[in-house]
């Protein structure tokens, strides 16, 4: 029997993503975002996360996906990387899933562009693919803007 892993899942455009559950701090509804001038475009701004200041990254922009419709507000999926809380703006969140390592596949050939760079691989679920996001790379805006 292969090992099982837990992933926090969420939706973004037509994709189904997962982030290792232990990296996810919490999920918070949409908050006022303070715009940060001169910041990288992917940074939507700063939010007040229970009196701590966290950067909100527009995950759609980060992955080169089209923007969310104006009538919908994203959710904050707060991840913890190197001691910092960072909010990833996602369309909607799904369940926490236990998946077996047996189902793991390297990055599918069909994926192109930024999405491909920022994912670790995919799990073949029964009816869809779960793309696993490389959180460290996603929040490292400085290196990827050079690449």
């Amino acid at each position: 029997m292969a090992d099982k892993r837990q992933f926090c899942t969420f939706f973004l455009d037509r994709f189904f993503f997962g982030i290792a559950a232990e990296k996810v701090q919490e999920i918070v509804r949409y908050q006022n975002i303070t715009f940060v001038p001169l910041a990288p475009v992917e940074v939507r701004g700063l939010i007040n996360l229970r009196s701590q200041i966290a950067i909100a990254i527009d995950l759609r922009l980060r992955l080169d996906l089209p923007p969310l419709n104006d009538d919908r507000l994203p959710l904050n999926l707060v991840v913890r990387v190197d001691g910092d809380n960072i909010s990833l703006l996602v369309d909607d969140v799904g369940d926490v899933l236990d998946v077996s390592d047996d189902w793991f596949e390297p990055v599918p050939e069909t994926l192109t562009g930024k999405v491909r760079e920022l994912i670790l691989g995919a799990y073949k679920l029964e009816n869809r693919l779960l793309l696993i996001l490389d959180v460290e790379k996603v929040v490292d805006l400085n290196s990827s803007s050079i690449a």
Partner: protein, 721 residues
């Protein structure tokens, strides 16, 4: 052998304190060799140290501490104190302290005492003891001598208060401080909410919460405060060693040792202060011979003063030495290619003094082992700036030099001015704030002059560059901000809010949409994704729960090219904002001279542009002067000098309008006014075509804006006048 980590940490902390106390006492003792109480205290310190070492089985340390203890004992005999060897004994004891420090550092990093052999030192100690053959006669148990106070393990504290103190990990205090910061924000929100709710009992509760939070914040702030003497305690030793090393006599005077400031700040200022002290001893205070030759007492004085003033702690390091030689400083800066010779000539006294902070400058004629390696003062300034502090120098020849450091009481909470631009609020640290200006209607249009695309404001006659916050932050260009475009349009026909700020001693105006109010805020760092944006120093959470950014004025000014690296005023222009390079370009004030000739003056020399009525001109002999800012301003009539044949100079002609005068800085003391016919423009242009000219007062001719322009040589012009 392994030592319990916790025991070791406690030992190290305590030893550090004991050592610093021993150092201070030794230096005092050197001056007061008759003070037996002092010897006893020293003896007890060494004794406690020895005991602790034995407890932890630190054999080497124990042997050394024991040696020190024995040596001290010899000092109890009057013969030893009378002999000239007292300095030698103190030297050895200080070495003992140094070696114990070394070993503790080794202990801290490796957990072991290290492999060094100190038998030589111990032998030297034994040697010194020989002149008193009966040491044990005077040894008494120190515990027995002064019974009540000495049961403490602190060793350093002579009072019995020790039991009331406990050690707390600073990190724990940091965490508490963070929590209180959050409580403050939460309180702000609740108070705001209570105003809306209009419920009297809730309002009352909110007010109590307000009070308690303030007290708590203040109380916690106090627990983090330490008297500045914690850093100063090492200076008597430093001063003694340094002055002996360079053969100077220096006495140190401390004032305001009880002045308290935040622990983290105390740590940060330690190195800069040491550096300043070194500087004073090395460069400031003269040798005893020289001092006597110029009628000063042979012993130089070094003052350390600390006091609170308007929310800041001020620390002064002052000496009564030679002062800073401005000419030598300039010459050195020119020699090192830090500044061009003609720029140097134009520098004011204060600007010249500030050259000291230029990276890579050292005025010491020779490099000593203390200072003068060319690194230092710039690092001092950088370190102080890092904690939102400032450093200023004043110096008088043969009277001495005073360095004044200003640092905030605490870093976590800052007083800021809130402003709005592009619909968002920004906080400006009060440290940088000079004044606020609000211009309405006509006035707003008139007082901002656009000189070749660079907005400038005349603040009481002085030209200060203006930068627009929304332009600097590119608020108009951001598509997300498009909806706020209206706000910035309002500004154009309505009021103009200028926040006059100071970055590196240079004032500039920051134009914002609205000025809100002064607020105490809790500073929070920005994540590393945003660290590279130099315009922001951090962020904070406002009473309504929203986040606001804190502007970094220095960073903003640098971005706008209001200040550049060589600290020259550089009026910002459209081309700068667009990011074009203009390194080679130079800014010229264009004038219309006689016969419609175009002339230029380097803008770097121009202090002010003024208008005077011709009636204001008075004469002293042949000279024309003007009463200007409580002084007499010599006037030079440009056309009279450049065209002596001309009968009518500008100022003589029955001119109906006002005279335009360009005030030029010669040095700090002197200004000269040049009467010109008309000021045309300020240009920012690369000068490619140059031709020499033999006309008096003209440096060269160049082509500017497609026209031949004569560039005025101010020094030659004055000589010709």
């Amino acid at each position: 052998m392994t030592i319990d980590r916790e025991d070791l940490t406690a030992f190290l902390v305590e030893t550090k304190e004991t050592l610093s106390q021993i150092e201070t006492d030794l230096v005092i003792f050197e001056q007061n060799p008759e003070d037996l109480e002092l010897i006893n205290r020293l003896y007890r310190s060494f004794h406690t140290l020895k005991g602790n070492c034995a407890f932890l089985s630190l054999a080497k340390l124990e042997a050394i501490a024991h040696g020190g203890e024995n040596l001290l004992n010899t000092l109890r005999a009057p013969t030893a104190r009378e002999s000239s060897s007292i300095r030698e004994i103190i030297n050895i004891l200080l070495r003992v302290v140094d070696i114990i420090k070394q070993i503790t550092i080794a202990l801290e990093s490796t957990g072991a005492e290290g492999e060094e052999d100190y038998s030589e030192l111990i032998a030297a100690i034994d040697n010194l003891q020989d002149f008193d053959s009966s040491p044990s006669a005077t040894i008494a148990d120190p515990q027995a001598e002064t019974p009540p106070a000495q049961s403490n393990q602190e060793g350093t504290k002579t009072s019995g208060l020790t039991d009331n103190f406990m050690r707390v990990d600073v990190q724990r205090l940091d965490e508490l401080m963070n929590l209180v910061g959050e409580l403050v924000l939460c309180r702000n929100q609740i108070v705001q909410f209570s105003d809306l709710l209009n419920d009297s009992s809730f309002l009352e509760t909110a007010q109590r919460l307000d009070l308690i939070t303030t007290d708590l914040q203040e109380g916690l702030r106090k627990t983090r405060m330490q008297p500045i003497s914690t850093v100063w305690s090492k200076f008597p030793r430093v001063v003694r060693d340094l002055s002996l090393g360079v053969g100077k006599q220096v006495s140190l005077e401390l004032e305001g040792e009880d002045t308290e400031l935040d622990k983290t700040l105390i740590e940060t200022i330690s190195d800069p202060l040491t550096h300043l002290i070194r500087n004073c001893i090395d460069h400031g205070i003269e040798t005893p011979d020289l001092r006597q030759a110029i009628g000063k007492p042979p012993e130089g004085k070094l003052f350390l003063r600390a006091f609170h003033e308007s929310g800041y702690v001020k620390i002064q390091v002052a000496d009564d030495g030679a002062g800073i030689d401005l000419a030598a400083l300039k010459a050195r800066a020119i020699e090192l290619n830090l500044i061009a010779a003609d720029r140097a000539a134009a520098l004011s006294e204060q600007e010249t003094l500030n050259l000291i902070f230029h990276p890579g400058l050292s005025t010491a004629k020779q490099v000593t082992n203390l200072s003068g390696r060319g690194v230092g003062m710039d690092v001092v300034k950088t370190n102080i700036n890092k904690i939102e502090g400032n450093i200023n120098i004043s110096s008088q020849p043969n009277k001495g030099t005073v360095f004044t450091i200003e640092i905030p009481l605490s870093l976590a909470i800052a007083r800021t001015l809130l402003v709005t631009s592009g619909g968002d609020r920004y906080a400006i640290p009060q440290m940088n704030l000079l004044e606020l200006i609000r211009l309405e209607g006509e006035q707003a249009v008139k007082s901002v002059e656009m000189i070749h695309g660079s907005p400038v404001y005349r603040l009481r006659g002085q030209l200060i560059p203006l930068i627009y916050l929304n332009e600097q932050l590119q608020l108009d260009q951001n598509p997300n901000r498009a909806k706020f475009k209206d706000c910035s349009d309002d500004r154009r026909d309505g009021t103009l809010n200028i926040v006059v700020l100071q970055a590196r001693d240079y004032p500039f105006g920051l134009v914002v949409d609205a000025i809100n109010d002064i607020r105490e805020i809790v500073v929070k760092p920005l994540g590393k994704q945003l660290k590279q944006i130099s315009c922001f120093a951090g962020a904070t959470i406002m009473g309504d729960g929203r986040v606001a950014l804190i502007l970094d004025i220095q960073g903003l000014a640098e971005k706008a090219h209001v200040i550049s690296d060589d600290k020259e005023i550089d009026l910002n222009t459209e081309s700068n904002i667009a990011g074009k390079t203009n390194d080679e370009e130079c800014q010229m004030l264009l004038l219309q001279g006689l016969d419609n000739r175009r002339m230029g003056i380097a803008l770097s020399r121009v202090a002010r542009l003024e208008n005077f009525s011709p009636q204001a001109i008075e004469r002293i002999g042949q000279k024309k002067v003007l009463q200007y800012r409580d002084r007499l301003l010599d006037l030079i009539d440009l056309s009279a000098i450049l065209n002596p044949e001309s009968v009518n100079s500008i100022s003589d002609s029955t001119n109906q309008g006002l005279l335009q005068v360009v005030v030029v800085n010669l040095d700090r003391e002197r200004n000269v006014g040049i009467i010109v016919e008309n000021i045309i423009d300020i240009v920012d242009q690369r000068i490619t075509v140059k031709s020499d000219t033999d006309r008096a007062g003209i440096e060269y001719a160049a082509v500017i804006q497609g026209k031949v322009t004569e560039i005025i040589d101010i020094e030659a012009l004055i000589a010709a006048a």
